[in-house]
Symmetry: C2
């Protein structure tokens, strides 16, 4: 049995940009190029119709809420289409600017700390078993200091997690099925999908491409990608992502002040996703807690994924201030703590050692360098689409470029680009009906691939 020899094959994934992963053995960041992937096996976990007809069935009803979900979760769906493309063009030099997956190596100051912690686990003095479900004290303290220094957020307001997406679902479990929710339209699909799963919504309405009982807050070029709150209905929960995925728009201090006032007037809870805050170039708030009063109405979720290349290492955090109360005065943090303790067992201790290293002076500098690299990519992509005469949004404060194809279907544009240039993007309509007519181009990629992709975009659209 030679299990270790299989390691290299383990990187084929249904939702990563792994097709680009083993692309080069040259350690220079700018030298990498994509190579063809010969065969892709699509994971099958579904019985065929014939099998189902004769097979034994339990008497357990399928969860009606999950049955409401449309198609696959966006990014696995894109992975499927990419895989199909590779079957059709097995020699294609596919470049992925689709799913926002980091591609650059993790700085050594961070991986060394994780390796050191790994080795220490083989010693009596360095071994640790179950950690605090909320995260290691030193990491919580470092997060409070690094990201919320003057904002009155304390160590015990911070819950370390295995990523923002996971915490969004745990927050939905806290809220339960009897709340109403609002989202930016377009927005990261995990907000809506987790809401559907928890039973907060009605059925999907095909005519408007929306789930019933969700308030979609339209964010368009016309309103500067900030919703007109005067026309937004009151909901219990408001998901708000800034800098935004997918539009790349960052809300200003004035806009966030409006949002906090809106939540306070309505007694709503904002779930603020700040996963891209360190990409901000402008002088907008990096945290919702920069807005006075936000601690009484907001939760903030964040992640090391896009700062340190931790998409595979898995580490994030969520801030639930002790000042945030349900209508009966019960602290939301206490229920979140209960869910974290019952449904989760803390992030990996090795990942947490990496997180702590990220927040050392050397780690912070190294993360800024990685972020700077992706921001240069962003600039190249923005300039390319600008030069081709497209209306381009985002890119300034986020690693995403939001390109307008007025009057066209996003999936059609996605398919056109994939078919003609072998570049994977993300169709805007995958983020909600408000994303129709847009394509999201991710700036996560090796420099050579981004430059090559831009050459192909110029060939296609010149």
């Amino acid at each position: 049995m030679s299990l270790m020899s299989n390691l290299s094959t383990s990187m084929i994934s249904s939702s990563s940009s792994a097709f680009l992963a083993p692309i080069s053995f040259n350690s220079s960041r700018t030298q990498s190029v994509s190579v063809p992937v010969k065969s892709i096996k699509i994971i099958k976990c579904v019985a065929t119709p014939q099998e189902q007809q004769t097979a034994y069935k339990t008497k357990v009803s399928r969860n009606a809420n999950i049955a409401k979900l449309q198609a696959g979760y966006l990014f696995p769906e894109i992975a499927r289409r990419r895989a199909a493309h590779l079957l059709k063009y097995p020699n294609a030099q596919v470049i992925s600017l689709g799913i926002g997956d980091t591609t650059e190596p993790i700085p050594e100051v961070i991986t060394s700390a994780m390796a050191k912690r790994s080795h220490a686990l083989s010693t009596l003095e360095g071994y640790s078993g179950y950690g605090a479900e909320q995260g290691e004290k030193a990491l919580r303290a470092a997060l409070a200091s690094a990201f919320y220094g003057n904002l009155g957020i304390e160590e015990d307001d911070i819950f370390v997690s295995d990523g923002a997406k996971c915490d969004i679902s745990r927050l939905q479990v806290v809220f339960g099925s009897d709340v109403t929710m609002a989202v930016q339209d377009p927005s990261y699909p995990a907000y809506v999908d987790s809401s559907v799963i928890m039973g907060q919504t009605g059925q999907f309405q095909k005519d408007v491409e929306k789930y019933a009982n969700i308030e979609y807050m339209r964010c368009t070029p016309e309103n500067g990608f900030f919703p007109d709150l005067s026309s937004v209905a009151r909901t219990d929960i408001i998901f708000f992502c800034s800098p935004n995925n997918p539009t790349g728009a960052a809300a200003t201090r004035e806009q966030l002040t409006q949002l906090v006032k809106f939540a306070k007037d309505n007694g709503s809870i904002i779930v603020y996703d700040s996963a891209y805050a360190m990409y901000m170039s402008d002088d907008n708030p990096r945290s919702i807690f920069e807005i006075p009063g936000a601690k009484e109405v907001a939760i903030e979720t964040a992640s090391f994924s896009k700062y340190a290349g931790f998409t595979g290492v898995r580490l994030g955090w969520t801030v639930v201030p002790k000042q945030l109360l349900f209508s009966d005065g019960f602290p939301v943090a206490r229920d979140f703590n209960r869910i974290v303790c019952t449904c989760f067992n803390g992030a990996s201790n090795i990942s947490q050692a990496g997180g702590l290293a990220c927040l050392s002076p050397e780690g912070l500098e190294a993360m800024q360098e990685v972020i700077g690299f992706y921001k240069e990519n962003t600039k190249i992509i923005v300039e390319t689409f600008n030069s081709l005469g497209f209306k381009v949004y985002g890119g300034q404060n986020a690693p995403y470029v939001w390109v307008h194809f007025p009057g066209r279907s996003s999936w059609d544009v996605f398919s056109e680009i994939l078919e003609k240039t072998h570049i994977v993007t993300t169709p805007g309509s995958g983020f909600g009906p408000g994303g129709e007519g847009f394509i999201r181009v991710s700036a996560f990629g090796h420099r050579e691939n981004v430059l090559e992709a831009c050459r192909r975009f110029k060939q296609l659209y010149n």
Copy 2:
């Protein structure tokens, strides 16, 4: 800012046996002794009553299902009592045989693989971002081969996770609020608590110490800790843990055959927790899938935690066979896959590298050695209580010893032992009303601590 210097303080945890962690700098397994912990800070994430009276409250109602939960989750509750004990006796040599937390270092063949993967993440060729949400292909294949070799479980039936507890909650999200469930009484509290959280149950009934709408399957010495299925009501879901936590009882092939028949007759789904399977000494099944027909009615969840000391590293897996169907013929695996993709992003790639190393020939041997060490502890504990005239159960097939104190309250015995011997155990009633009158003694501990604990038990009960 010297963040790294805080690392050692990070091991104080609300639910670990961390009080015993930094106990010795001697690398010999048998040389360690516990040392006093000077001060313990209990995490506070709750507003005080005064603050709540005048504070701003949102208009979001607290989730009524979460409000049904009694007290804290068992293990944090024990951690709180232990912390209070340490405040009272700051110089006490506390020994934890409470929460089932591993204490022995992870074999080097495993930590080396994790360190290697960590370092590789700093290289272009070794970097990987988002992995498959279901886990790396090589690990899924190795799990299928190592644990389900001849049982017809395939690589794509296996979903790698960050631990069995986390997967239990994700399974509950798949099932939703409209199912009914049964549990062994006593049983690991995460089954019941996650069921309450999802809204599958009624209120807690103080008179019988049970939640309404859960079928408690009594497991006692009288029935050999296997429920009398002829008196168990039909439910949609049946949680079943074998070898059992907390009783240590392992079901025989005949009993599991009965259970599978019972599920099949009723159209139920068994969620089989096999987290302690490798502790089996007797010739009982290690997997529910050893029983013919089980693939049509069972899910199995498992973990590296108690095999390789991965309680802090976080890695487990769940098997959802493609043959398992809801009443409408829809495969359960497909909905589980959707939940894994939407609410989870895969286990840490570093932990997965560790899991793969666990399944190499050297890793399997090293795990057997760790397990063998804990089984020796178990024997010492069993012999101690036997010599004191107690009726003792478990221990043969699981790292837990289930000690009977007939007619006494579990929490009283827990308190008596803690107060008089500074030993933390787990009160049986924390696992359900059927555990009343019992104490669970965990065999996870350094040898010196187990021996010292047994000396103290003899002093107290001789």
